[in-house]
Amino acid sequence: MSIIELNALSKWYGEVIGLNNVTTRVGHGITGLVGPNGAGKSTLMGLAMGQLRPSKGAITVFGDRVWDNPHVLTRIGYCPEGDAFWPNVTGRQFVTFLGRASGMHGAALKTAVHEVIESTGMTPHADRAIRGYSKGMRQRIKLAQTLVHRPQLLILDEPFTGADPVARHHLADLFRELAERGVDILLSSHVLHEVEALTRQILMIDHGRIVAEGDLQTVRRELHDRPHAIRVRLDQPRRLGRRLVDLEEVMSLRIAAADTLIIETASPDRVHHQLSGIILEEGIAVREIAAADESLEAVFGYLTNRSA
């Protein structure tokens, strides 16, 4: 069952198209929403949160419309991208108020506030005014308010912005833990390797259109116009190369470094199957065999260049 459904959804701002006839579903687990600047990620998230109205088409979350619908909205936690704070409040007051505004109260609220502040590492700073926070602290307190009312779905717009590497690692662990507990997460980020470390389910968007969705590996395999690159690190690349050049599936070979051979092929599975046999026959010592371009960054680059 999908959490978010978009049906022929379009959104335009005057002459500028934010989303263009998008039909897709976001399922359970963590889904990474990636795309270049101006692709439509924030527009999609705004539509999912009921902040924007579709110009055409429909969007439902948990099977229900989202615009001005508190029953659905209380099941969602939203972390906006930029600064969004009231003046003269401390972190704890900020989280507590939004917890109350979500319907929590009493001891349950107090416990929840304490827990989310601790889980985001903001306990030492919670009673200070937000205006004195660094960028990373602001991001973490925003995440705290996202989690305080124990939502079923988290919509996180650039949650890693401003966080230092330690904090990012901490946040990624938090998201994984939440996903294991059954919370669904839709997050957007420019930090592609961190999205990749969190999930293989991606939704790639460019110029208002979905250019790829689903499992990252599956998406990669669908890119027929881009041969797969296999990187082999070994002592005698030319020796292996001489054997591989005869294979029909091999489209090209490149010696990238003294100990690295790059094989380009449209049929990586068959090449992998034959490669191990050849290596054994030749008795070549191999240190690494890996896909050189199945990363999110590589796929992202292929798809956005193609759609440009």
Binding site: Y13, M49, Q51, D68, P70, T74, A84, N88, L98, H105
Partner: protein
């Protein structure tokens, strides 16, 4: 109810702990400061009529006509606008409250604080203008002033000023939602419609919120009618503007309801996003 109560108390708290409050207090204290200055310079008043003019003149031409509408403009235009600009509206409309509820709760909280502050300003002005005077021992210039009861007038003002505060706040809240740059429209409305049209002695006066408030005040304090009886205004026009028995409340309520209903429609239908997308 709890989210509503939380938003209500949060809004009140934000108002009371903001720097804007200092400007509001300064403005509301200005008539009292002026009266104190006048009292320190002028000779002691012996005529009840003169004291009456001084007190009611300050209330009407400073507090009611200028300061309260100005304060309501600053708060009303920013009721939702400040949340939109600060990007905090997203937090409020993605909680357990409808957009209309958010608007009404913020409106109620703001109105409550402004009403309380206005009443305090009124009480301060009363104290500054009349403290130390025994009205019964002063001679009256007109029969009405000989039976003047300042306490009753104060109660009359305290009963009617909240209606004006709520009315102006509702109108400026609507203006704040109508356009992305509401200040120009608000300034135009305040100066052209209320201050100018509300004081020019023509029938058009009757269409202003200021006039509706005056009608209510004349109902509560009948002697106030003398204050609004200009030499240029004919008796017939005066009677039309201040009909016998008119309370002004239907007009005030009508304005408040219309403004709030329109505001609810706008806040429910419009996206209220802070940024415009850059055109490529």
């Amino acid at each position: 109810m709890r989210p509503i109560a939380a938003l209500f108390t949060f809004t009140v708290r934000q108002m009371l702990f903001s720097r804007k409050l200092w400007m509001t207090l300064l403005l509301l204290a200005a008539p009292s400061a002026l009266i104190v200055t006048i009292r320190s310079v002028a000779p002691p008043v012996e005529d009840a009529g003169e004291l009456w003019d001084r007190y009611h003149g300050s209330v009407q031409f400073l507090l009611v006509m200028v300061i309260i509408p100005l304060v309501c403009m600053v708060y009303g235009v920013g009721l939702i606008g400040s949340e939109v600009e600060g990007h905090t509206l997203a937090h409020l409309i993605t909680r357990r409250m409808r957009r209309a509820t958010v608007l009404l709760v913020k409106f109620a909280a703001t109105a409550l604080v402004l009403v309380v502050l206005s009443e305090l300003a009124l009480a301060a002005l009363y104290a500054c203008a009349l403290a130390g005077y025994d009205v019964s021992s002063l001679t009256g210039a007109a029969p009405a002033h000989a039976h003047w009861s300042p306490g009753r007038d104060l109660l009359g003002y305290m009963a009617t000023i909240p209606a004006g505060v709520v009315g102006f706040l509702a109108v400026f809240t609507l203006i704040g939602l109508l356009t992305a740059q509401p200040l120009a429209l608000s300034v135009f409305y305040l100066i052209a419609m209320e201050v100018v049209m509300g004081n020019v002695p023509t029938g058009a006066q009757a269409y202003t919120l200021l006039h509706a408030q005056r009608v209510a005040m004349v109902y509560a304090i009948p002697e106030l009618s003398d204050l609004f009886h200009h030499a240029e205004i004919s008796a017939g026009l005066h009677d039309r503007l201040f009909p016998e028995g008119a309370t002004g409340l239907p007009q005030l309520l009508g304005v408040v309801l219309a403004a709030l209903v329109l505001s609810i429609v706008l806040v429910t239908v419009r996206e209220l996003m802070p940024t415009k997308v850059a055109r490529e």
